[in-house]
């Protein structure tokens, strides 16, 4: 690595040097080493490929590179061969030799490792896969290409160019204005225009010049992982965004940076730590960055597993070493936030958008997305948004699309629809503060305002697809309990109200629903919404409200008919063995924890309903689909 850059000319020269030496590389084997693929054994592959290349003396012609998350985690471990972009999925150690010998050396494709869609088509190139082809990857563009632990990789693809463009060159006010005009809105949930926030923070009185620049990497939405993926795959893009922010908001003062990251993301913490260290060594953090006069550094703070700590004031309390209780917002954090200093908090994905906007310009950026932000930054949703497409969908993973893309396009064209021939029922967006939308909302363009109008919200980008085997009452019950557990307990309405909601929903799911329960849920919900201090309580009933609004019939069936049509609520279902499908293999009888299944070998078995606890193990272990729920 080079010595610290004294100015932007140094950075430019170093990059040119890098590009010159790199052109000699011919082939690259990129192995995804994100959390998902590591869980499927990617690290062993990285070692294996290194060894195999070395053993064959191919080090000069072939580079083995570990990258961050490619977003198609379900098919991991993923291996992409450059420059052909051949994508191999679910690769195992035993496949390594074949990949090297047949593909790298022989130029053939190993058919069995290719991605195959539901109709049986195989795809060779990564960019031909429907999953990738229909996306617009700007923020995630480099994830599959660069080694996140190498700042050289980031510099080689143009990293820190945006920083060099503004630091010491554009007036800080001008940079704030650019961000405002770009229409960039916060990706952490609220959709607040980032430029407006920056300008207010810059304008706030601050005698000693200490302003805090914070990155919210708490990613509390359970079922969302785009922030994790950005930090693991391209940590420098977040750091670059934050340094630009420090210049725009804090120069000529003494801005200081924090990343508040959740403890459940050890790999992201590690990668970010490495990236910060490298940036410091190159003089991109520290004193007099690129000779601009800006002094700025970033610290990492790890969270402790509390959803509410993603809320801005709770997050700041937590950095100060107190429990994460939100406070009233009549004092804005941009004026008095962390340690009572002007504080600017943005989400990981928001920060990662910043270098892109600076690099490519407002005109380009506002060309993507919905609405018109030329007069009012609230006038539309610009740029792309990354969604974590999960649940009952064929292709699960990270999907980056322009704002305004329809739910249908995301779920069907990119996601490949619902697996197992089942029927779509709902899609949940916005995490625990969001809502569930039914099939007739599938053509809704996904942007901040359209989702809110439909009773859900953008949130941080979790998108959970549900099919006919998902019970909507159970989903509402799940989120209500989640929020009751995560409520910090400060407001009575939120702490006690959510608990009561949870109890009523428990009763309904247990077959003990009473007439009037639905109205009771609604009136209690209104109280919780209006009497709670922070957005956790104020939006806590969204999952409940939206399911009551769109799936009321399912609630009615639970309460009046004592039926769960999805076959989820245990008290309302029973398991049965289909005599014509059962082969009498006896495996269910062996695995049943209650010895509730009996039958002779090779003869149909039966379940004793009085003993059955409806754990569903028999259905899981049956190889002949002979166990059904009713």
């Amino acid at each position: 690595m080079a010595k610290a850059f004294a100015n932007s000319a140094d950075l430019k020269a170093y990059r040119q040097q890098l590009l010159k030496t790199r052109r000699t590389e011919t082939k690259t084997i990129s192995i995804c080493a994100g959390t998902g693929c590591c869980a499927s054994g990617a690290l062993k592959l990285v070692d294996g490929f290194h060894r195999a290349v070395r053993e064959r003396g191919l080090e000069r012609e072939v580079t083995v590179r570990q990258t961050g998350c490619h977003g198609f985690c379900e098919r991991g471990p993923l291996v992409v061969l450059h420059p052909e972009l051949t994508l191999y999925q679910r690769v195992k150690g035993a496949d390594i030799a074949e990949i090297i010998e047949r593909t790298i050396q022989g130029g053939e494709v190993v058919e069995r490792l290719l991605y195959q869609d539901a109709a049986g088509h195989r795809f060779v190139r990564e960019d031909e896969l429907p999953f990738y082809k229909n996306q617009m990857r700007l923020i995630l563009a480099q994830n599959g290409h660069i080694d996140p632990t190498s700042i050289d990789d980031y510099l080689a693809v143009g990293g820190y160019q945006a920083l060099a463009k503004v630091l010491g060159k554009s007036k800080p006010e001008k940079v704030c204005e650019t961000i405002r005009k770009s229409g960039l809105r916060g990706r952490g949930g609220g959709g607040f225009p980032a430029g407006v926030k920056w300008e207010s923070c810059r304008a706030a009185p601050c005698p000693d010049g200490v302003r805090y620049i914070i990155c919210n990497a708490d990613e509390g939405d359970p079922g969302a992982f785009m922030d994790r993926s950005i930090m693991e795959g391209n940590p420098h893009s977040v750091i670059e965004g934050m340094i630009i922010g420090a210049w725009a908001i804090g120069f000529p003062g003494r801005p200081q940076g924090y990343v508040y990251i959740r403890n459940e993301y050890p790999l992201a913490v590690e990668r970010l730590g490495i990236a910060l260290e490298q940036a410091r060594r190159l003089g991109l953090l520290g004193k007099n960055i690129l000779g601009s006069g800006l002094d700025f550094d970033i610290k990492i703070n790890k969270g402790g597993g509390a959803f509410v700590c993603g809320e801005s004031t709770a997050l700041m309390a937590s950095i100060e070493g107190f429990v994460g209780e939100p406070r009233a917002k009549h004092i804005h954090t941009v004026e008095s936030g962390l340690w009572d200093k002007p504080t600017n908090l943005n989400n990981v994905e928001t920060w990662a958008n910043v270098p892109l906007i600076i690099d490519k310009g407002v005109k380009w950026y506002t060309g993507i997305g919905t609405g018109d932000v030329s007069r009012d930054p609230w006038g539309g949703s610009k740029g792309t948004k990354i969604f974590a497409l999960v649940g009952k969908v064929q292709n699960t993973g990270l999907v980056e699309v322009p704002m305004g893309t329809s739910l249908r396009r995301i779920i069907y064209d990119i996601g490949g629809g619902i697996p197992g021939g089942k029927k779509f029922k709902a899609v949940q967006t916005g995490g625990p503060s969001g809502g569930c939308l039914p099939a007739d909302k599938l053509d809704l363009p996904v942007d901040f305002d359209a989702l809110t109008a439909a009773g859900s919200m953008m949130g941080s980008g979790g998108m959970i697809v549900m099919d006919e085997s998902t019970c909507m009452v159970d989903v509402a019950r799940y989120f209500t309990h989640f929020l009751a557990d995560e409520s910090c307990g400060k407001c009575v309405s939120c702490r006690e109200g959510l608990r009561q909601l949870g109890r009523i929903l428990d009763r309904i799911c247990a077959g003990e629903g009473r007439p009037g329960d639905l109205e009771l849920l609604e009136s209690l919900g209104r109280t919780i919404r209006s009497a709670s201090l922070c957005a956790l309580g104020q939006t806590a009933t969204n999952p409940l409200d939206s399911t009551l609004r769109y799936f009321r019939e399912e609630y009615r069936e639970h309460v009046e008919d004592k039926k769960c049509r999805a076959g989820v609520c245990r008290a309302l279902i029973s398991f049965r063995i289909l005599a014509d499908k059962c082969t009498g293999c006896m495996i269910c009888a062996k695995k049943c924890p209650e010895q509730a299944i009996s039958g002779e070998k090779k003869k149909p078995h039966v379940i004793d309903q009085s003993k059955c606890i409806r754990c569903g193990i028999c259905r899981d272990v049956c190889k002949f689909d002979a166990v059904v729920v009713e």
Binding site: G223, S229, V390, G462, C488
Partner: protein, 152 residues
């Protein structure tokens, strides 16, 4: 935890009460839980009320005030894992080992914990046994993964 080690950890964090969360994380990392005596000593070291330390230790779900088991089984209960059947996995461990989520078996072999998403949602339902991720779990697979523990 030995006093000397505690002092080192505290010194690593500049003896700064604002670093309490990080200090507690370091203690738990080494001790597997937060021992009462250590917390009392920490309060004296930092000059903060013990109540403030307890409020943090009980607020954040990643801390345990009880010694945890030799093995730790963490079931993800995030939304993506939930809709793919994660609650049944919790039930299964609770039933097989006669403990509730958050508890440890009497022989200190196993602690069952739950977590709200670890960011590997595409592989849900997800179970982490001693730091190793097991994706696309069902009751049959979990039975196999935990089977080795039962025999120990």
């Amino acid at each position: 935890m030995e006093s000397k080690r505690l002092q080192e950890i505290v010194a690593d964090h500049g003896k700064d009460p604002a670093q309490l969360l990080a200090i507690l994380q370091d203690i738990q990392q080494e001790e597997n839980y937060l021992p009462k005596e250590t917390l009392k000593e920490l309060a004296r070291e930092l000059g903060v009320p013990l109540a403030r330390i307890y409020s943090l230790a009980t607020f954040f779900s990643s801390f345990s005030l009880e010694p945890r088991g030799k093995h730790i089984c963490t079931v993800c209960l995030g939304t993506a894992c939930h809709v793919r059947g994660a609650p049944r996995l919790v039930d299964q461990v609770e039933r097989d080992f006669a403990i509730k989520a958050g508890e440890t078996t009497a022989d200190r072999q196993l602690t069952l914990e739950t977590v709200n998403c670890v960011g590997a949602c595409a592989l849900g339902p997800l179970v982490i046994l001693d730091g190793e991720y097991h994706g696309n779990m069902n009751t049959a697979k979990l039975g196999r993964v935990l089977g080795s523990l039962k025999k120990e």
